[in-house]
């Protein structure tokens, strides 16, 4: 049978999380169609069509799909589900919002946050904030999965384009929710999810001003994304979308620099797959040093400016 991949995008560009989830789909095997639900999202469909191993791109456009509200988007996927035995999406906030709704409507138990495809019906996923890894086999006729994209390499995106089929957006599930506004953080930095280098700050930064002052120059020098621990976000030093951890974003950059982060279990769950971890902390017994490749015991207010100067 076939696989349907529900794409992550913003109506203008296709997120590389889709290309990563596509790699997971390829490991399952079968014909793969990518669903673009959105509005004026033609360029997204064009980009998706060029990803390797795609049979068709299905483009559904309409006002109700512009922001991919859960109810109409889930209804759309359910209407398409008869042709597929596997439906998957990257485990973004959109994927997590929509797919369980699809699963319940199809009477299927979803497998969340897949980190490894063992066989077409068997998957590994983290539980207990990543402190244990569970291997589960689905017994449902349809498999519904969200994919933790940090565990998969992106499929290439420069292939002969697959056909794009336009379908009707439908009206099922409309009228329940209304989009009001997006309050998105604006910055020119790379996205946390795809950044090669992340500089991440903890409670030790002490205030939102100092977080900005000390973290920004280093991140600028390195072309890095900025992340934060839950403690720093809860204290208001950084915005919620910067939170790295089991309940925030799960990241796996080439280089992760943890500044003034003690290394709570839930934070480690969000970054321990990074290639190289650097920890800067005044407490030499901080748990972060147990996962760090390189550690500096010292005051980040001395070390970060020094690092910025020497880079």
């Amino acid at each position: 049978m076939a696989i349907l991949l529900f794409a992550e995008h913003d109506n203008q560009s296709l997120s590389d999380q889709t290309a990563k989830a596509l790699s997971a789909a390829s490991l399952i095997g079968g014909d793969i169609d990518i669903l673009i639900a959105g509005k004026n999202a033609g360029s997204v469909a064009d980009a998706a069509a060029k990803l390797s191993g795609v049979r068709n791109v299905i483009l559904a456009e309409g006002d109700t799909l512009e922001h991919r509200l859960a109810e109409p988007t889930a209804a759309l996927i359910v209407n398409l589900s008869g042709d597929y035995d596997t439906i998957l999406a990257p485990a973004t906030t959109t994927g997590k919002n929509v797919l369980p709704r699809v699963a319940a409507l199809l009477d299927v138990m979803q497998v969340s946050d897949v980190i490894e495809v063992v066989s077409p019906d068997t998957f590994k996923r983290p539980i207990y904030a990543g402190n244990a890894i569970e291997t589960v086999q689905t017994t449902d006729a349809t498999r519904i999965l969200t994919i933790r994209t940090t565990s998969f390499a992106a499929a290439t995106g420069d292939n002969a384009p697959a056909p794009i089929k336009t379908i009707d957006a439908g009206s099922d599930g409309t009228g329940l929710s209304t989009f009001l506004e997006n309050i998105l953080s604006k910055n020119d930095r790379p996205e946390l999810g795809s950044a090669k280098i992340i500089v991440s700050g903890g409670r030790a930064l002490g205030s939102a001003e100092r977080f900005q002052e000390v973290m920004t120059p280093v991140a600028d020098k390195l072309g890095a994304a900025i992340g934060a621990s839950r403690a720093a976000v809860d204290a208001g030093y950084a915005s919620n979308d910067l939170q790295v951890g089991q309940t925030g974003k799960v990241v796996a950059p080439d280089l992760y620099i943890a500044c003034g982060i003690s290394g709570a279990i839930q934070h480690l769950a969000g970054m321990k797959d990074s290639k190289i971890i650097v920890a800067i902390n005044t407490d030499e017994d901080a748990p972060i040093f147990q996962v760090a490749d390189y550690g500096i015991v010292g005051d980040l207010f001395d070390i970060l400016p020094e690092l910025e100067r020497q880079l």
Binding site: N97, I127, D140, L176, S177, I183, Q290
Partner: protein, 249 residues
């Protein structure tokens, strides 16, 4: 307006869990159990709605072993009015939980159900969305702010790029994210009072729901560990190592 709050009994978030040597699961013997932290936030939000005069009754419900009564007593001590326990021994999947909760909703007729966005044991992040689907209701997941009106609610959601505000038609499902509120500690007098609040016990059979799992757990293992690296003397040393040894800058 009646608000229903489902709560789950899970391993306390401070406990460092251990995987069983035979790979069949996580060792739960003699481990401290508590209410799922996201569910505490959900209870707090419901109680605040009652205190603000926007809700008149808060009903807590839990699905789990007999000991989940303690979790419900915690919810009652925080300010819920009464509680329902549906007793199920052994693990239960979100899909079954959603089906049982649908039955509770049919009995109780709440206008709003607030759940935690995920439980910190199975980390599934599914139950609220599934319940919403089964009921055909609107859903607002990952809420960091809830403004409840008479027929609609405005909800600010934590999404990947920042925040998103949506309006949902009631009845609705809301799932709580970390920053929706800071849950209170129950006071001793309230803990005493909670012991006298009504707690009703039901079974899945009462709702005609079978709870047999759809996912077969084949194995549970420790994650691949990282080994601690080295401490470096200073910034110069660090940059040298990152360039020459690690090749990441």
């Amino acid at each position: 307006m009646k608000v229903l709050v489902p709560v789950k009994r899970v391993v306390d978030y401070n406990v460092k869990i251990r995987v069983k040597a035979d790979g069949t699961g996580v060792d739960l013997a003699n481990v401290k159990m508590s209410m799922n932290p996201f569910d505490e936030i959900a209870v707090e939000e419901a109680v605040r709605l009652k205190e603000a005069g926007k809700a008149n009754e808060v009903v807590a419900v839990s699905i789990g072993p007999a000991q989940a009564q303690e979790t419900l007593r915690t919810a009652l001590a925080m300010g819920a009015d009464r509680a329902i326990l549906i007793t199920v021994d052994g693990p239960i999947e979100p899909l079954s939980v959603a089906k049982l909760l649908k039955g509770v909703v049919a009995d109780e007729n709440p206008n709003l159900v607030i759940l935690g966005k995920q439980a910190i044991d199975d980390d599934a992040n599914q139950t609220g969305q599934m319940l919403s689907a089964l009921l055909g209701w609107s859903q607002a997941t990952f809420a960091s702010e809830l403004d409840l009106g008479d027929t609609t609610a405005k909800v600010t959601r934590e999404v990947d790029g920042g925040l998103q505000a949506i309006e949902v038609t009631l009845p609705a499902i809301v799932t709580a994210d970390l920053r929706l509120n800071e849950p209170r500690y129950a006071s001793l007098p309230n803990i005493m009072k909670a012991k006298k609040k009504p707690l009703e016990t039901r079974t899945p059979d009462d709702f005609g729901v079978t709870v047999s799992p759809r996912l077969r757990v084949i194995r549970v293992e420790e994650p691949a560990g990282r080994t601690a690296g080295i401490k470096v003397a200073g910034v110069t040393d660090l940059i040298e190592k990152l360039k020459a040894e690690a090749g990441v800058i």
